[in-house]
Symmetry: C2
């Protein structure tokens, strides 16, 4: 298997992506070649720091002149910055030099590059970022987690269909329940986007359970949560932030008396178990569903471990033939185009 | 002071609102009269259960024929259901029979009733729900938390101005920092609403610090967080849900071994401190900022304690003359109408 990694992607690049690449080669023997895209001298310097003055033969370094910075406008910078590492990663997938592209860089640029160069699957109008989130009892997919920031109802229908297939085929849930993230469980509650989407999802060939609220996400979880990319991204980042804030407060409170400190020590494995479960580094990256090629997007602030796990996710997505399965979802979507139109008209 | 309470508001009415009313009279001597709006026989039956066969003389029961149910459409049901408890509460404020209205009922109906009957303050186009949220180091206001579900940039400007004044005058923060909730800290990141709002807030007479992300809410908190009502409501409910889910998981993990159980017992006060801090019941209700009268909105699922605290919040808002201060904010907003127009044109 060949994987393309954006060595310049993320707030701590190329240091962390290159370190993650070295770890990934050590852990994932399925990877025959790991293509590193970025500034060659910098990549070689990082490899040297990690004891690879002569890089592992499974690395293939592809020099890129430019890097898309986090503050750059997505589409314009793809055009302006010739030979940038994000576009080159995606083009490697398009040209079948790699089976998947991974980046912790500019999300908007990654989405735009994948949409333009790989194109969307037939029947899918916009790709969505599918993030796996943990609850006490299950894993759910939240999508879109930030690809499409001004979504329309028909995009959310595509997300519901793709999310259902992903949950069923990859996570193994039978007839996964799909919830529309809104502000009340009643179907009259919501904004204009969710009200129109509610009608489309009601007519779709999925196990739609109606609106779900923020409070249901972790307390009465469904398997697929559909929302527009702006809301999804805010929810995702808020969730991560709260979990870590609560542990931080607890640690602070625990240090206030020796008895509490003793208690915390005795119960330390309980804390570790939950911390591991709520740590996004364990999940690493998110698949961009709906484009014709495996694309994994990681947080800009990703640790080495998180980027390594994003590479693992790309490997698994290729192994599970995620894309063939999404094409099935796209076909279902196509077959229900008329149902859509009817529902909208109703 | 006279407070109007919707005795039929919430998922457990009239039981919980009436019980909260009884507790409020016992705790808040400032309340001379607590006006209870709802079905008189049911209210009297609840009072009787609580040992008040002859109600406290500070109660004033106002019979209403109808109740707006959670699944009702907001505006239409206000019109269709004559003499409903939400509208009557709000009208009591309009007619100066009460200084504040409190309800745990239908949020949309409460917002619509307040907007129609009390009207917005001069210079404010739409009211917003201001929710106080705790972090380890401060309290911040999130607004709008669900009044205005399809907000426009000029509404968000009003929220920023009102939130600033509220934070400064009521919570005591000097030059409170105002952040726009978005999906990246760079000003080019966001959806069309936040991008346009960013320009307005940059030109406004507030301490605007730019975009903040979901992850900043609790880790690098500002004092005022501005967002549209849909996003705010989802964030609020998600936050509450995660805190409670994490404690639930922890409790589960703690019970796995006797050592962990002993540890949990030793550290129990640390848990209690955090649980109290993250428990929305402690905060109770949220003020609807921007209407000409004190209006407090509580969760539909509120406990007795949460509704009692919502009544306390109404009392404090009256005592702090919140509305006079918001009028100042509205005047500032008025003075900056031209700045707005310039910024939009730019």
């Amino acid at each position: 298997m060949k994987i393309a990694l954006d060595a310049m992607g993320g707030d701590f690049a190329p240091e962390r992506p290159v370190a993650a690449a070295v770890e990934a080669l050590a852990r994932f023997p399925q990877i025959e070649t790991l293509l590193l895209f970025g500034k060659e001298p910098e990549i070689r310097a990082e490899l040297k720091k990690l004891g690879q003055a002569k890089p592992d033969s499974r690395f293939e370094i592809h020099h890129c002149d430019t890097v898309i910075e986090m503050g750059d406008p997505a589409v314009e910078s793809l055009r302006r910055k010739k030979n940038n590492s994000i576009l080159r990663c995606i083009e490697a997938v398009r040209d079948e030099q790699a089976e998947a592209a991974v980046s912790a860089g500019h999300t908007g640029a990654m989405v735009a590059a994948a949409t333009i160069r790989l194109r969307t699957l037939p029947g899918i109008s916009r790709p969505g970022i599918a993030t796996i989130m943990p609850t006490e009892t299950n894993l759910f997919i939240l999508l879109d987690a930030g690809a499409n920031l001004d979504a329309r109802p028909e995009h959310l229908l595509d997300y519901a269909l793709m999310g259902s297939i992903f949950s069923e085929e990859i996570l193994g849930y039978k007839k996964p329940r799909v919830g529309l993230l809104s502000i009340g469980s009643e179907d009259v509650k919501g904004n204009s986007l969710t009200k129109d989407t509610f009608k489309l999802l009601s007519a779709a060939p999925i196990n739609f359970v109606g609106n779900i609220e923020g409070r249901d996400l972790f307390e009465r979880p469904v398997e697929v949560v559909v929302c527009d990319g702006f809301v999804g991204n805010v929810v995702l980042k808020t969730s991560e932030s709260i979990a870590s804030a609560i542990f931080h407060w607890l640690a602070h409170e625990m240090k206030k008396t020796p008895l509490r400190m003793a208690g915390a020590w005795l119960a330390r494995n309980a804390f570790r178990a939950i911390k591991k479960k709520t740590n996004y580094e364990e999940y690493g990256g998110s698949l961009l569903l709906g484009v014709n090629g495996v694309t994994v997007i990681a947080h800009g602030s990703s640790s080495v471990k998180a980027i390594r796990n994003a590479i693992r996710e790309a490997v698994e997505a290729v192994e599970h033939r995620v894309n063939d399965r999404i094409i099935r979802a796209a076909e279902i979507a196509g077959a229900h185009k008329e149902a859509k139109a009817d529902a909208v008209a109703a």
